[in-house]
């Protein structure tokens, strides 16, 4: 193929969500401009117990793929999630809520957070999340359906909890219905040209699939970029104590909470992802401190119910040194393995896809696109990593695990963010962030960081104005929440067939 000829064939090798979301997204965008997308499916690594938690931007991504929300939730027995409730089981640390939505509203041109900080210092008896519409609604088992009035207050968003196997099956069925060419493989090998680029993948030693661009969507196995091309990963383990995860299943809640709950205990944390059919449980711990048996015990105690289908896997967080190498692009787990906190995996996949489409090569000469892709994806992944790292670095939870986690080294950008926040309650702005300033404010504050000072411009606002605004916001939240349907009722009406 001549260097100037346009790319015409993309081969996606992978499994599960990484494969099917990629195939649908790439095909949806590229088929109509003459690029064929071919899928090679490796055996699943999914466990039946898994419930994926997703971030707000997925909704718009699904819309572009033509997915309907009601169908999605029905098929996956899914539910809504307005954020994460963090609970310390020892009872020493106050709960806090990380919401997908604005906290408070600007007051006389000043940001809300410093106003709250100051009022808190002067004796205000309301936590940060009291001023968050989404947090209050969801903690009361309600939806938050935005309207003009809520939009005037601020942003409201949500994610989902989806039974992963059902989600993946649904995505696959869409790919099939789109007529995408599918192959199944147990093993995949590569044929390479002299310049190192991949000319074809071989399936189970027999069928050979040629392509111009190859996507590795095989998760941590990284069969193309890791195993075949030998691209190593930058090790993030120095920043994270978690190296092992248990997934299990618990019965569904009678009334389904529209949020995730992260329960911290001495030896790690246990996340509950409620959905209509069951509750997904993820327990994160350090194998050096606790073995699998003890981990299961901790998780069971944290959930307060018997757990089923427990399975374990190791976690080695790190980012591929070159996410796009030669003509092979890694997406999802093969590009970057994250710590399990905050469930960023599907979002990371979405980011990779959005940027790959934005930089999709025009011809076989794509040095500039590849360089930019590597640069920007690394930047996005590092910002996500920093948000996760903050959770451990600042946590006041007691226990051997947390003590060790607090002692780990901080990435430089995060150290700077924490220092700036400690000094002034400001979130240092950086490019390529996934988590908005209020997310950072919410977790820093929830983890107990009290800044040494607040923005002096806040002192210009008369305190009676601030009090007025606080009252107005709280009353608005109370009124709005009472208007909302319950999560259960809403799900019921949404998922009713027809």
């Amino acid at each position: 193929m001549s260097a100037n000829a346009p790319l015409s064939r993309v081969v996606v090798v992978g499994r599960d969500a990484d494969l099917w979301l990629s195939v649908n997204a790439l095909s949806g965008a590229l088929t109509c401009v003459g690029v064929q997308v071919v899928a090679v499916e490796l055996p699943t690594r999914l466990k039946a117990s898994l419930v994926s938690a997703t971030l707000p931007p997925l909704e718009a991504f699904h819309t572009k793929l033509g997915l309907k929300e009601s169908t999605l939730l029905r098929v996956t027995a899914g539910s809504f999630s307005f954020g994460q409730n963090v609970v310390d089981l020892s009872g020493n640390v106050p709960n806090f809520f990380h919401a997908w939505g604005a906290y408070g509203a600007p007051i006389e041109g000043s940001a809300f957070f410093p106003c709250w900080l100051k009022a808190r210092r002067l004796g205000l008896n309301r936590s940060f999340q009291h001023f968050c519409l989404t947090a209050i609604a969801s903690q009361n088992g309600r939806m938050l359906l935005p309207d003009e009035a809520t939009a005037a207050l601020g942003r409201t968003d949500y994610g989902y909890h989806l039974h992963t196997m059902a989600y993946v099956a649904y995505l696959k069925s869409i790919a099939v219905s789109l007529g995408i060419r599918l192959y199944e493989a147990q093993h995949v090998g590569v044929e390479r040209r002299d310049d190192g680029s991949i000319s074809a993948v071989s399936i189970d030693g027999s069928v050979s699939l040629e392509g111009d661009l190859f996507v590795d969507a095989s998760g941590e196995d990284a069969v193309l970029i890791g195993r075949s091309l030998g691209v190593a990963s930058d090790d993030w383990r120095p920043h994270f104590k978690v190296d092992r995860v248990m997934s299990a299943s618990a019965p569904a809640f009678t009334s389904i909470p529209p949020f995730a709950e992260i329960r911290t205990a001495r030896a790690g944390w246990t996340a509950l992802h409620p959905s209509q059919a069951a509750t997904g449980v993820v327990h994160a711990f350090s194998s050096g401190l606790v073995n699998d048996v003890a981990a299961l015990e901790s998780a069971t105690a944290a959930c307060g119910v018997k757990l089923a289908d427990a399975s374990f896997h190791s976690v080695n967080p790190g980012v591929r040194a070159q996410i796009w190498e030669g003509n092979c692009v890694a997406l999802g787990g093969s590009a970057c393995v994250f710590d399990p906190i905050f469930d960023v995996e599907i979002h990371s996949l979405q980011l990779g896809l959005v940027h790959l489409l934005a930089l999709f090569p025009v011809s076989a000469r794509f040095t500039a696109e590849r360089a930019e892709y590597n640069r920007i994806m690394r930047s996005y992944y590092e910002r996500i990593r920093d948000f996760q790292c903050a959770f451990y670095a600042l946590s006041p939870v007691e226990g051997n695990f947390w003590e060790k986690a607090r002692g780990l080294s901080l990435p430089a950008a995060l150290a700077h963010k924490i220092a700036t926040f400690r000094a002034r309650g400001e979130i240092a702005p950086m490019e390529d962030e996934t988590f908005l300033p209020e997310s950072w404010q919410a977790i820093f504050t929830g983890l107990g960081v009290v800044p040494d000072s607040w923005s002096p411009a806040t002192d210009r606002i008369p305190s009676n104005r601030v009090d007025e605004e606080f009252r107005r916001i709280l009353e608005f939240i109370k009124k709005k929440v009472l208007e909302q349907p319950t999560h259960d009722k809403y799900l019921e009406s949404l998922c009713r067939p027809g």
């Binding site: 000094a423 002034r424 400001e426």
Partner: protein, 531 residues
């Protein structure tokens, strides 16, 4: 630690001492006075009428309106006081090839049909040999500027007439004076005098006290260095190292020369590339500001002076030369392009020229002042406290980002040229580039992708206008543009072009708009000589 609680336990006011007036000094004083509690912050500004401020007729960026609104200035009054005109872009002439002109607008190019950025649609039509106009014709602000038209952007976000922003040209000396009156009325203390001695605390090296020639001594908690190029405090006392950028931006001199206002009032700045630099033209209500920014490496001062005077066709003041009458002798400024490694050290913060200098090619000087003052106000120590190194780091980090973004953008104007055989232009065309710029260029050349920053300058459409204007032609475009039927594309391009022209035709002329809005329109008698 421990905040001062209101009431009788309150700390003494935090003393901010600003060294130097001009736009940097008075913008700082006014913003601090406005945004911070006067009971908590006492602001003193020391300036000397004997020390001239640089104050050339200046152009600005749309951010200035946010600044003025923050102060509560009435727009028409501000424009009257400063003899301001509107600015919706900069016209660059002869930068790529002699005879070429393009406008960098404060506005959008085209529309993102099918979710794909406009430049890809335009490039597709170009590569397919289909009828289409220059990219410039698809920017509302460009077409308006070329027609010397102006009106406030429409509030309806669906209207083509909403797709731009505006800034001003004004007399920076008058702006500083205006802010000075505003600030003094609100309690800022102005001291006329010159600093002749600076006393530091024994430990730590922070500045404790300034002594003026008059003998008066002024203590402070935080010192804002607005002393211009001299950088009296940050450079001189705190020893912040200088990072020189002459190898990327060779211009290090400027002659400034005001001329009488003549011809239609243009709503844009003009920057014309010349043999050894470039000449600016800034239209004000009462006169036109002109100048030649040049490199002493490639031309000597006398030749530069003559080249400017000749180019304007302007003779001596009161002379009979054919061009617009000069209103003063050309005034020489010498500078170094570059910046202080840290703008905030100890208890000294440099704002304006004291922190660094980038030539005014994209009207960024006042923007840098505004950005620095805004960040300083957020990161300012509280009464009773000292400067927090953690917040100094953040200030410096933000400052770094602003300077580097602007530097890359300016270097782009120079390096992308085809003025072969002219020593300055041959030099900049072949010099090694900052990595960040080289990367952006490679990406645009490959497939017309543009930087899309969330913070700081420059907007995506700004990069587009300059990359294209400077002759960088992408080899490819976003494949997703191909999803659009070609005939529909052609129709849309034609419709857009017509819609723009029709709406621009309905606009008022810039001159008329100024006369109606803040009409101190007719040429004022030539007053102060300051350019």
């Amino acid at each position: 630690m421990g905040e001062a609680i209101r009431g009788h336990n309150r700390s003494a006011p935090f003393r901010v001492v600003i060294v130097g007036g001009g736009t940097a000094g008075w913008m700082s004083a006014a913003a601090i006075r406005r945004r911070l509690n006067p009971e908590d912050y006492a602001v003193t500004l020391i300036e000397s009428d004997d020390i001239g401020t640089v104050g050339v007729g200046e152009a600005t960026l749309p951010h200035i309106k946010i600044f003025n609104d923050m102060l509560g200035l009435d727009e028409a009054q501000f424009m009257r006081e400063t003899r301001a005109t509107f600015k919706i872009g900069i016209q660059f002439c002869d930068w790529d090839l002699p005879g070429d002109c393009y406008i960098h607008p404060f506005g959008a190019f085209g529309e993102p049909w099918g979710g794909v950025e406009f430049q890809h649609h335009w490039l597709r039509a170009l590569q397919a040999g289909r009828r289409r106009n220059s990219l410039q014709d698809y920017s509302y602000a460009v077409v308006a500027a070329r027609d010397n038209a102006f009106e406030f952007p429409n509030e309806d976000r669906n209207s083509i007439r909403s797709t731009y922003a505006y800034a001003y040209h004004f007399d920076a000396g008058l702006y500083a004076a205006y802010l000075r009156r505003w600030a003094i009325e609100r309690g800022v203390r102005r001291i006329e005098g010159q600093v002749c001695d600076i006393k530091r605390h024994a430990a730590g090296g922070d500045v404790q006290e300034l002594t003026l020639k008059s003998g008066e001594r002024i203590e402070g908690d935080l010192f804002i260095d607005c002393s211009g190029f001299r950088s009296l405090l940050l450079g001189g006392v705190m020893g912040a190292a200088w990072r020189d950028w002459t190898h990327w931006l060779p211009c290090d001199r400027a002659f400034a020369l005001p001329t009488q206002r003549a011809g239609a009032l243009t709503p844009y700045t003009r920057a014309t590339a010349r043999r050894a630099g470039w000449m600016w033209r800034i239209p004000l209500q009462h006169r036109t500001g002109n100048g030649y920014v040049f490199s002493s490496r490639f031309i000597d001062e006398d030749d530069a002076r003559n080249e400017l005077v000749t180019a304007l066709g302007a003779g001596a003041p009161g002379g009979t030369a054919p061009g617009a009458a000069a209103q003063a002798e050309p005034r020489l400024l010498r500078f170094s392009p570059g910046r202080r490694e840290q703008a905030w050290r100890g208890n000294c913060v440099a704002i304006g020229l004291a922190s660094g200098f980038l030539e005014p090619l994209e009207s960024t000087s006042i923007y840098l002042i505004q950005a620095a003052v805004t960040d300083l106000i957020n990161l300012m120590p509280k009464p009773g406290a000292v400067a927090d190194p953690r917040l100094m780091n953040e200030f410096n980090r933000l400052n770094d980002m602003q300077y580097e973004r602007i530097r890359d953008f300016l270097v782009l104007h120079y390096m992308a040229n085809r003025r072969v055989g002219e020593p300055l232009w041959d030099y900049v065309r072949s010099m090694p580039l900052p990595d960040s710029l080289a990367h952006k260029l490679a990406l645009f050349r490959a497939r017309a992708s543009l930087p899309n920053y969330q913070y700081g300058l420059f907007a995506r459409d700004s990069w587009l206008s300059v990359l294209m204007g400077q002759g960088i032609r992408p080899q490819g475009y976003d494949r997703l543009a191909d999803a659009f039927p070609m005939d529909t594309l052609e129709e849309r391009l034609a419709e857009l072009r017509n819609r723009i022209q029709t709406n621009v035709n309905a606009m008022t002329s810039h001159g008329e708009f100024i006369a109606n809005f803040c009409g101190a329109a007719e040429a004022m008698p030539a007053e102060e000589v300051a350019v």
